[in-house]
Amino acid sequence: MNLTQLLDQLKADERFLRHVTRWEVIPPQPARTAPFPASLEPRLREALRRRGVDELYTHQAAAVALAAAGRSFVVPTPTASGKTLCYNLPVLDAILRDPQARALYLFPTKALAQDQMHEVHGLVTELGADIRTFTFDGDTPETARRAIRSSGHIVVTNPDMLHQGILPHHTLWVKLFENLRFVVVDEVHQYRGVFGSHVANVLRRLRRVARFYGADPQFICCSATIANPLELAERLTGREMAEVGDNGAPRGLKHFIFYNPPVVNRELGIRASTIKTTRAIAERFLGTGAQMIVFARSRMRVELLLTYLEKAGRRVGIRGGEVRGYRGGYLPGERRAIEQGLRDGSVKAVVSTNALELGIDIGRLDVCVMAGYAGTVAATWQQAGRAGRRQNVSAVVLVASSSPADQYIVTNPDFFFGRSPEHATLDPDNLIVQMSHLKCAAFELPFREDEDYGGRRVTEILDYLCDNRVLHRAEGRYHWMADTYPAEDVSLRSAAPDNVVIIDDSRPGGLVIGEMDLFSAQEMLHDDAIYIHGAQQHHVDRLDWERREAHVQPVRVDYYTDAQRKSELKTLTADEQKAHGEGALAVGEIGLVSKVTVYKKIKLGTHENVGAGRVHLPEMEMHTTGFWWEVPESAAAALASRGLDLGDALKGLAHLLGCVAPVFIMADSADLHATAMIRSPFTGRPTLYLYDSVPGGVGYARRIYEQFDEICRAARSHLAGCPCGHGCPACVGATVDSGDTARAGAAWLLARAGAGDADADARATAAEG
């Protein structure tokens, strides 16, 4: 049976269709093209013609024209729509006209940088011009670095390398900075949250150093489809930008199926396991011979699905090596082999984390199955974009989990298929992030007392750093004065600088098989955890917290482990507040102490709970930004008079908002936490909190403060549409966790969350279903 036949069969399969909440057929779209802009260098036109390109897609032509006009711009465009020409053409054009001109390309990961290098290289070879492109990252040999610094026209790197390897040594890069015409930032939607806030500061430093050498480069950004690409790109680069609309790339016929697994426990509102459902659906596609990618949301799930699909593959004659896993923690060589296998067809199926969501070239596949919503609409479209050849039919299946974000998406498909509602959020002015980068900036060039950074004066922070013996003020400037290298202490990827090293003790002398950040390590590498790596289970014999080492041994057991984290919250200051109905909304600073206390053992296959254990690890402390809603004091009595409990209601509402809000602010659900207190020591009232789960916060809480009404509207409509009786994980949480009256109580509170209008009771009744 081939793919089309299977799709026909599924269309006629009542049992399958019962759980399909949307079967969207996306029609093929022909290409819309424009002739080469007159300004394009003739040699470049010739080279394109030799490659069979006689005209450009409309968005590519628009990009070339904007670049020629000296503008910076952002191109929001789906996967595989020829976006690389949007920046390669302007850059190559500039270098052909002026061989001294230089460009810097930034990709969020090293792998992507390597991959895109080959792309540019192809075009340069076709041109036959002396244009040198190099990747510069941690793997670049010392012997090649000097040549790259002085003669590289296009330097392809990642933000981490720019931050730690290039900017602090800018005097070695004089040629690049003096002649820097373009900075290309690809996948800008990745630069949100903590990472985005850091990268925005790295780019501030880049512009500052470029200014020192008399350069003011144009920025070209590419983004997946989000609601605010222009705002994001402007915040990230600190420059005024134009937006290129009108994507002219062609696409083939695509079936996009939302599959919501059946409710298996109506009482608890629990749905069939996403993993098991994904496994069943993926196995059907595996039999068609179509090339497939399966996305899972965690490293552990990748390994689980890989194990299942390898077994299933053997039944239909697919060998072990033809089904592969792909995720962070695999070695670079292994990854390159898998990418190559996908391109040449020798790998039939790959199970991946979002590591393959980005534009690494793996060719175009036929089928994409997602075990759970990718966390954002943009990321989901990017993952879906992996399937889709120009000629043939392709299929995408999104298997929803029980989590409210997933349920919100599959039960509100118009939200997904309509115009993107997602706002990417970042906060370059997060104090701790900004201070870290001010140290780096002062190391790179002394700060003038009257110098602006990110558009404003920062003397107060600089003076603080003087008091702390990091800077020294003399001759009207702030000079770096410590004997350390500040960029080394600042990791762009996380708020915390440390990692735990994973060591396999069964290998002679102990072999390092991976690394993990401290926060995740507490959950995945505690003593007696089962850590899965390369489909191989490992037992954690010992987590040496002081030395940041986890010692593991390969084992074969029939369970995996899942740890639970407990947190305690303290409100410190309110930065801003406003009245809201009878209550109030506020945003401010909070302190948080969290601790992993216990873990569960869960049986493979059946996913039953087969045991538990205690975890003894130190508390982690964090200060961050929080949003809170002070609920009117009268709520308790009003709820009680309806037979509802305030505690249940708050808990239910926290669960619901904690999962609906990330959808709007483009946060990973792990980046935003929600909790509630019957009486907050700070407000003295019942209070509901939503807070950034990263030190200092990155703007999520503030965006919720601004968009609270909109988020509440979405939460109300989601709750009203949820088919459960008294609550389920998809809305207010299972009744065992949130209580029997949580759904009705949350609906009542939610109705009052819209600035005290008269229809509140009617809305509450509607939401209670």
Binding site: L471, H472, D483, P497
Partner: protein, 399 residues
């Protein structure tokens, strides 16, 4: 809550390394002016003032005519340079990490005027006053032709280049050949010393001891910062003295390097310190492409012999094989390989022997035996074919 309090709390809770690692308190600099006990003088330059002190001493360093040091301090054919053309240089910096945020707060330079070594130390009284220092350095370095440093090629020279660039000035030392004595010391004495730090070489090769009152290198950045922040100059004098000793040390090491170079002009005979001394000289000769001299010296080293079975002995033998090959000393090479094979050397000696017998000495049977012992099937096969051809008598017409 004020911003400072918030910053402090956020830093603590993010688990960041404390910001207090050896920075400077206060924002006043050395408000009280330069301490008199340092004996600094002011020189004026078009770019601003420069503070320095000068010192002279007699009788240290190499002779007035320097030998050609190719193979020791430089790859290139060194220009004929007199002692008076050489500038010694050593910097004291605010950190050892490199990058644009590290300053050189003390630049010591030395040169010879007649028999005297003149030491001039340029002192940076505060960050932001580098222009005067760099201008004076450029002016004073102008008459020289080579700059002698210890690890300067990787550290001091790029650092000064960066400082110049950041102050929008040209590199004050760009016109000078760089003679870095660290790689030279590694080459000449590396095997004989525990390590190649400058002080180890001064002590082990030149017989110089730093004596009382020297300061540990790692503490130096802190001394300047303490002075800058708190006006406490008590240890600055130690740093100046340390820098002066470093320059004197450079002169002494340069002298020993010249002496080593002069040995190459004399017949290769055994002496104290062999085999390491002769081995190092062989290496230098080889870098100078003086292959016959290299072979002579490696012969001396082999005669002295390293302790059998040690890593040094194995390395010496392999390097000797290479140098003898380069010099075309086939008989000596054969002798070496035979003795190595007798002593149990592995595949490498058999492979070298196979090559030697096949290509140079034309003894194919022997070559075949060694190729077999070296486990090189392709060579074995080729040698068999060659042997078969030579064993078959040629048919000639009429037979």
């Amino acid at each position: 809550m004020d911003l400072r309090g918030r910053l402090a709390r956020l830093e603590r809770s993010a688990g960041r390394p404390a910001a207090t690692r050896g920075g400077v308190a206060g924002t006043t600099g050395a408000g009280g002016g330069l301490p008199a006990e340092l004996g600094l003088r002011e020189a004026s330059t078009p770019a601003g003032p420069c503070w320095y002190r000068e010192w002279r001493e007699a009788g240290c360093g190499p002779g007035e005519e320097l030998p050609d040091l190719r193979g020791i301090v430089t790859h290139r054919q060194a220009r004929a340079i007199a002692r008076a053309d050489v500038l010694l240089l050593d910097t004291e910096t605010t950190g050892l990490v490199g990058g644009t945020g590290t300053l050189a707060f003390l630049v010591g330079v030395g040169w010879w005027e007649g028999p005297d070594l003149v030491v001039r130390q340029l002192f940076l009284p505060a960050p932001g006053r580098e222009e005067g220092l760099l201008a004076a350095l450029a002016e004073w370095a102008a008459p020289f032709r080579a700059v002698v440093t210890y690890n300067g090629a990787s550290f001091d020279l790029p650092l000064l280049r960066t400082r110049a660039l950041l102050n929008r000035r040209g590199d004050p030392l760009a016109h000078l050949d760089s003679w870095d004595l660290l790689p030279a010391a590694r080459r000449l004495w590396g095997r004989a010393l525990a390590d190649c730090r400058q002080q180890t070489v001064e002590c082990g090769v030149c017989g110089l001891a730093r004596g009382e009152g020297d300061i540990e290198g790692a503490r130096i950045p802190e001394v300047w910062r303490t002075w800058l922040g708190e006006g406490d100059a008590s240890d600055l004098l130690c740093v100046l003295r340390h820098n002066q000793r470093d320059l004197r040390g450079l002169a002494a090491i340069l002298d020993r390097a010249c002496a080593a170079r002069e040995e190459l002009d004399r017949p290769a005979v055994a002496g104290p310190g062999d085999p390491l001394r002769a081995w190092a000289l062989a290496r230098v000769a080889s870098r100078r492409r003086e292959h016959a001299t290299a072979a002579d010296w490696i012969g001396v080293a082999l005669a002295a012999g390293a302790e059998p079975g040690t890593q040094d002995a194995r390395r010496l033998a392999r390097e000797a094989a290479l140098l003898l090959k380069r010099a075309g000393r086939w008989t000596e090479l054969e002798r070496l390989l035979v003795s190595q094979i007798d002593a149990g050397a592995g595949a490498w000696a058999h492979r070298e022997a196979a090559i030697l017998y096949e290509r140079r000495l034309r003894r194919l049977e022997r070559a075949l035996v060694h190729a077999g012992l070296a486990a090189e099937p392709a060579r074995v096969e080729r040698l068999r074919r060659r042997l078969a051809r030579t064993a078959t008598p040629r048919r000639t017409e009429g037979t």
